[in-house]
Symmetry: C2
Subunit: 263 residues, 2 copies
């Protein structure tokens, strides 16, 4: 045996710790985003605090990725390790009763030790909601970008096709983005109309740069308003210049819809 008694004990304890996966829905309106910041309201911070109350341990909650201030999630995925033996069903109810109304644990389950919410994620799907209306709608104000006048959804879809495949998204990246390189693979990018007043954009990629979806949406909306032609997106991607792209669409219309994992 190469390792001593202390290591063996530590190893045994480590194996006893369960790896717990959470599927989370949250309204981001009142938070400074996912990422823990001391003294600030953050999704990760609130969850870590409540999980610690449940388990009696300090926990680190690993998210599939950060969401910015004001961005929502329909199904964010996160995991943490605990030696607590609380049954999963009781954990779900207990945690939801401790959490504020705008953060909800939708599912909880034990996963294999190797599972990591961020590293194992194969792709993520984001949704962006645009509400078309001449006057603001009090029921959409937290969940959509309200735009006066009509959008040409056909033209936006034509422009969105340029995003598909492996591309360099430098032009759609926020200043200060910490990603090591700006190449991402987009598997799906599509607008559709929902009812008379809403246009919904969904985009799936193996990863997203900071503000990437919101910068893409800001640009595609310019196309939809016929201020840019649909060929412009291709030119922006090729030019790799942030100044060429449209404005950053507001956070409130953006939802992390889901995270896909290998198998």
């Amino acid at each position: 045996m190469s390792h001593g008694r202390g290591n063996e004990k530590k190893h045994r304890q480590e194996c006893l710790r369960r790896n717990i996966l959470l599927v989370l829905a949250y309204e981001g309106t009142s938070y400074r985003g996912w990422q823990f910041q001391p003294g600030e309201p953050t999704i990760q911070g609130v969850l870590q605090e409540k999980i610690s109350i449940m388990t009696g341990e300090q926990v680190v909650l690993i998210g599939s990725g950060r969401t910015d201030a004001g961005v929502h999630a329909l199904a964010q995925v996160a995991n943490f390790r605990t030696s607590s033996r609380i049954p999963m069903d009781g954990f779900l109810r207990g945690l939801n009763s401790l959490l504020p109304d705008d953060i909800v644990v939708r599912e909880i389950r034990e996963v294999p030790d190797g599972f990591h919410s961020r590293y194992c994620a194969r792709s993520k799907v984001y949704r962006y909601v645009v509400h078309n209306d001449d006057v603001p709608d009090p029921f959409w104000r937290r969940f959509a970008w309200t735009i006066r006048g009509d959008l040409d959804v056909e033209a936006m879809n034509e422009a969105a096709r340029a995003l598909l495949g492996q591309r360099n998204f430098a032009a759609f990246q926020a200043a200060g983005c910490s990603a090591s390189h700006p190449v991402r693979t987009v598997m799906m990018a599509r607008w559709r109309r929902i009812g008379r007043n809403n246009s919904l954009f969904e985009i799936e990629a193996d990863g997203f740069l900071r503000h990437m979806v919101r910068n893409i949406v800001g640009t595609l909306v310019e196309v939809g308003r016929q201020k840019l032609d649909s060929g412009h997106v291709e030119r922006i991607l090729t030019g790799k210049n942030r100044q060429e792209a449209g404005i950053t669409a507001p956070a409130r219309g953006l939802f992390l819809k889901g995270v896909r994992y290998i198998a």
Copy 2:
């Protein structure tokens, strides 16, 4: 001439005053209901204050009816009189810029002098939203009653048929309701499923007693959960006893959908 100089002048001034109709949408979450109460946040109070800023006059805003604390409106109708000459389009923009985000003027127009939002209303349509989910959904928490387990929409619709026509709704009236008599005519009362998780109730009547929709919904949901049989609604109406009806469904699921006027 039977009236003197003073009366004539007053009459002329009165005729110069325009009668302005507003169509309003609001989220009721933060308000103590429609009805003005000194020192309390109310929809009527906020609107009167902002209209007074626009017109420079004290105005009385007449609503089609009160909505309770926490109840929302998709299209409440109200009217007021003013001698202000501000064009309607500017009035709409100005008022919306003064109003908080949760109250919106959707339409504004001048109407004949005889129009009165309450007296001229022929019928009102209310909508109630039930969200079926095992865990609460952060996006529905302000706009629906979340119920665990499934509802039998067929049975609820069968039970709702007993409400149609001219009936005595004493059993569905809140204590302290100031209505002179409890007879109302219901023209429509129907549940439908929207997507996988929502059930939507719509009811149209020539008038509603206090908490009438919420008491009806509370009772119909008991039917949908198979705690009451669908014949029970008929027995409640006949018995006229509030104790026999179900609980009062929460305000947050209720929306005033619209008001119908004679021609």
